[in-house]
C-alpha cells in the first residue's frame, strides 16, 4: 500500500497496463509534451515514446474515431478527452460507432477502447466547462461507464478497463484528482465492474452517490451521525453501466430510506433511473419516497456563490435526509 493522489493512481494504472500490454497506446490533446491537462499522463511520453503517447490536434471526433479504428485493427487504445465538456464533439463516434458496432455487426467487430474524461463543476469554469455527464453516457446500451471516487478505485477500475473487450467511458471528477488515499501496489490489483462499494455502514438511511458526489454523501453521513444521531449507509456505485442495483436494494431493505446524490441535473438525470429501480424492487420496504439531491436545473454560473448555490452540498443531503424523518 502507498498513499497517493488520484491523479498519480491513474498514472500508475496507465503505466502498469502499458508495460503489461504493448497493444495499449495513449492519444489526446496535450497528454504528451504538456503532461496532461490534469497531469495524469505526466512522464509517460518520456517513458514510452511518441508512438505510444500521442499528442493530437484539437479534434475530439477524429481522436475518438481514430481510437475506434485502431481498436478495430487489434490495438487497445486509450483516448483522453481533456474535459467531458468537449466530448459532445465526439458524441457521434462514441454513440454510433463505439457503442453499436458489436451489435450491428452481429458480433464481428468489437471496440476495446478506453475513453477517459475529466468531469464536474465547482471550479468556477462557468456553464460550458462544468458538465457532469456520467448519466448521459450510461444511457447508451453498448457502453460501460465507470466513475471512481477514490484513488484505489481509480487505479483498480482503470486497470480493469484495459482488460475489457468493449468501450469503457472512464469519467474522473476534477475535484478528486488531488484526493489522497491508500492504493495497492500489486500490479494485478483490479476492481471489478458492476460492484458498488459500501463506503460506510448504517441502519437508518441509504445515501447513494457516484463520482464527486460520494464525498458529499460521506460528509453528510458524518454530520447526520454527529448532529442528529442518524446512522446513514453510504454507497458508491463506482460503475453506472453495469449497475450494481442489488447492493443498493439490499441496503434500502435494511434502512427503508434512500437518498440519491449526484452533480448532474436532476431533470432526466441518472438519479431518476436509480429512484425508479429502487421503487420497482423495494417499494414495500420504503418508509418515504426516494429523495434526490442534484444540481439545480440551470447552467452553472461563474460566480462562486451562485455556482455553489446550484450544486448539491452535504447540507442539502442532510436536509433531504431529515425531511424523510418528519411526519
Amino acid at each position: 500500500m502507498a498513499i497517493m493522489r488520484m491523479r498519480d493512481a491513474l498514472r500508475e494504472a496507465l503505466r502498469e497496463e502499458m508495460l503489461r500490454d504493448e497493444r495499449i497506446f495513449l492519444m489526446g490533446e496535450d497528454i504528451g509534451l504538456y503532461g496532461g491537462s490534469y497531469a495524469v499522463t505526466k512522464g509517460l511520453l518520456e517513458e514510452f515514446g511518441e508512438e505510444r503517447v500521442r499528442d493530437t490536434p484539437i479534434a475530439e471526433s477524429a481522436i475518438v474515431g481514430i481510437g475506434i479504428g485502431a481498436a478495430m485493427g487489434g490495438l487497445h487504445p486509450m483516448v483522453e478527452i481533456m474535459t467531458i465538456n468537449f466530448s459532445f464533439l465526439a458524441l457521434d463516434q462514441i454513440v454510433n460507432n463505439a457503442a453499436k458496432l458489436l451489435h450491428m455487426s452481429n458480433g464481428q467487430i468489437n471496440v476495446p477502447l478506453v475513453i477517459r474524461m475529466a468531469s464536474g463543476g465547482g471550479s468556477q469554469l462557468a456553464a460550458t466547462h462544468s458538465h457532469s455527464l456520467e448519466g448521459l453516457y450510461a444511457h447508451f446500451p453498448g457502453l460501460k461507464v465507470v466513475c471512481p471516487s477514490t484513488p484505489a478505485d481509480a487505479k483498480g477500475l482503470l486497470k480493469r478497463a484495459f482488460r475489457d473487450q468493449n468501450t469503457v467511458v472512464f469519467i474522473e471528477h476534477t475535484a478528486n484528482y488531488g484526493l489522497r488515499g491508500e492504493v495497492p501496489d500489486d500490479p494485478d490489483f483490479l476492481v471489478e465492474f458492476g460492484v458498488a462499494n459500501v463506503m460506510r455502514e448504517g441502519t437508518d438511511v441509504t445515501i447513494v452517490g457516484y463520482s464527486g458526489s460520494v464525498h458529499q454523501a460521506v460528509r453528510a453521513a458524518q454530520m447526520l451521525e454527529e448532529q442528529e444521531e442518524i446512522s446513514a449507509e453510504v454507497i458508491d456505485l463506482r460503475t453506472l453501466r453495469p449497475l450494481d442495483i442489488e447492493t443498493v436494494v439490499r441496503s434500502v431493505k435494511k434502512t427503508n430510506r434512500a437518498v440519491i446524490v449526484e452533480d448532474a441535473w436532476r431533470f432526466g438525470g441518472f438519479g431518476g433511473e436509480l429512484a425508479a429501480q429502487v421503487m420497482e424492487r423495494a417499494f414495500d420496504w420504503l418508509d418515504a419516497p426516494v429523495a434526490r439531491v442534484a444540481c439545480k436545473d440551470v447552467p452553472l454560473p461563474y460566480n462562486r456563490n451562485l455556482e455553489f448555490h446550484a450544486l448539491p452540498s452535504e447540507e442539502d443531503v442532510v436536509e433531504a435526509v431529515l425531511g424523510m424523518f418528519k411526519e
Binding site: P57, G65, I66, M72, G74, D92, L102, S105, I109, N166
Partner: protein, 329 residues
C-alpha cells in the same frame, strides 16, 4: 474511347481479369435493380440506397486490394460488399432482415459487414468512418503489418468536420489510407457545387497529400488511379486521395422523387455507362463478343435469383437473440 494507357492496362490485366470486372459490375447492376423491385414489394424495408450507375467506382478500386487490406464505406454499400467478394446470399438476406444475413439482420442495407473479407462496414453517418480508417492505419503501423485501408465516401462528406480532421491526422501520422471520394454530384438533392466552395481534390491537396480526380464511369481509370494510390500507401508514403466523378441513376434512396435534376441529365449520364464502356472496350480488343456478354448477364442473373431465394427461405432471427452481441465477454 480507349486511350493508349488504357490499351496497355487492358493488355496487362488480360481477358480473365477484365471479364471479372465486367461480371462484378453487371452483378451489382442486376442486384441493385432487383433490390429496387423487392423494396416496392415490401420485402426490403428501411432506407435503401441503390448504387446503380456507380459500379465502376467499387469494382475499379476494390480490385486493387490484397486479401489482407480493409474496406470501409458509406451507406450505399451493396456494390462495395459485392466487389469485395462478400457472399451475395448473405447481403440479400441482410436486406431481408434474416438471421443468415451478413449482420444477422441487425444492420440492414446501410450496415453490411464481413470481417473475414476485410469488409469492415457500411457507415450511415456521413464521414464518421473516415477517422476509423485512419485508426486502422495506426494499427497497421504499430503492429508492423502492411495492410492498406480503402475508405470510400461520397462528396457530401467534405462538408463534415470529420473529413478535415481525418485527412489532417492521416498526413500528420503518415497512415496507409486511401481516401476514395465517389462524387455523384448530389448530396441527397443538393448539387455539390452549391455545398462546396472549392473543388474536392484541392481540399485533400491542401492537407499535403497526393490528390487526383478520375472518371468514375470508367473502371480502367479508377483501377489505374487506385492501384497507384494503394502502392503509395503500402510503401509507407502516407495517405492518397482519389475523387471519382460518377453518377447515380436512381434517386438518393427509394423515397426520392428526384425533383432536383432533369431526366435529360440522367439520360446523358447513362450514355457514359460504365458497363457499356468496358463491354465496348473488350469487344474492340477481341476479348468479348455479344454471346460472351449474354453469358455474363445470365451468370449474374442466376446469382441474384439464388440470393433472393436464399433470403426468402432463410429464417427470421429468433427473438431470444435480441440481447446477443451487446457486450463482448
Amino acid at each position: 474511347m480507349t486511350t493508349d494507357i488504357q490499351h496497355d492496362l487492358m493488355r496487362e490485366l488480360g481477358a480473365e481479369r477484365l471479364g471479372l470486372f465486367l461480371y462484378q459490375m453487371v452483378l451489382i447492376r442486376q442486384f441493385e435493380e432487383r433490390c429496387g423491385e423487392l423494396y416496392t414489394k415490401g420485402k426490403i424495408r428501411g432506407f435503401l440506397h441503390l448504387y446503380t450507375g456507380q459500379e465502376a467506382c467499387a469494382v475499379g478500386s476494390i480490385n486493387c486490394l490484397e486479401e489482407r487490406d480493409k474496406v470501409l464505406t458509406h451507406y450505399r454499400d451493396h456494390g462495395h460488399a459485392l466487389a469485395r467478394g462478400v457472399d451475395p446470399n448473405g447481403v440479400m438476406a441482410e436486406l431481408f432482415g434474416k438471421a443468415t444475413g451478413v449482420a444477422g439482420g441487425r444492420g440492414g442495407s446501410m450496415h453490411l459487414y464481413d470481417v473475414e473479407k476485410g469488409f469492415l462496414g457500411g457507415y450511415a453517418i456521413v464521414a464518421a468512418h473516415l477517422p476509423l480508417a485512419v485508426g486502422l492505419g495506426v494499427a497497421a503501423q504499430m503492429k508492423g503489418e502492411d495492410f492498406v485501408t480503402l475508405c470510400i465516401f461520397g462528396e457530401g462528406s467534405v462538408g463534415e468536420g470529420e473529413f478535415h480532421e481525418a485527412l489532417n491526422m492521416s498526413v500528420l501520422w503518415n497512415t496507409p489510407t486511401v481516401f476514395f471520394c465517389e462524387n455523384n454530384l448530389y448530396g441527397m438533392g443538393v448539387p455539390f457545387k452549391a455545398s462546396l466552395s472549392t473543388e474536392v481534390p484541392k481540399l485533400a491537396a491542401a492537407y499535403n497529400m497526393p490528390a487526383v480526380s478520375v472518371d468514375g464511369m470508367d473502371v480502367l481509370a479508377v483501377y489505374g488511379a487506385t492501384r497507384e494510390a494503394v502502392a503509395h500507401a503500402r510503401a509507407g508514403k502516407g495517405p492518397y486521395f482519389i475523387e471519382a466523378m460518377t453518377y447515380r441513376y436512381r434517386g438518393h434512396s427509394m423515397a426520392d422523387p428526384e425533383l432536383y435534376r432533369l431526366k435529360e441529365e440522367v439520360e446523358e449520364a447513362k450514355r457514359r455507362d460504365c458497363i457499356e464502356r468496358l463491354k465496348g472496350q473488350m469487344m474492340a480488343a477481341g476479348m468479348l463478343d455479344e454471346e460472351g456478354f449474354a453469358e455474363v448477364e445470365a451468370r449474374a442473373r442466376a446469382v441474384v435469383e439464388e440470393a433472393v431465394e436464399f433470403a426468402e427461405r432463410s429464417p427470421q432471427p429468433a427473438l431470444d437473440t435480441l440481447f446477443d452481441h451487446l457486450y463482448k465477454e
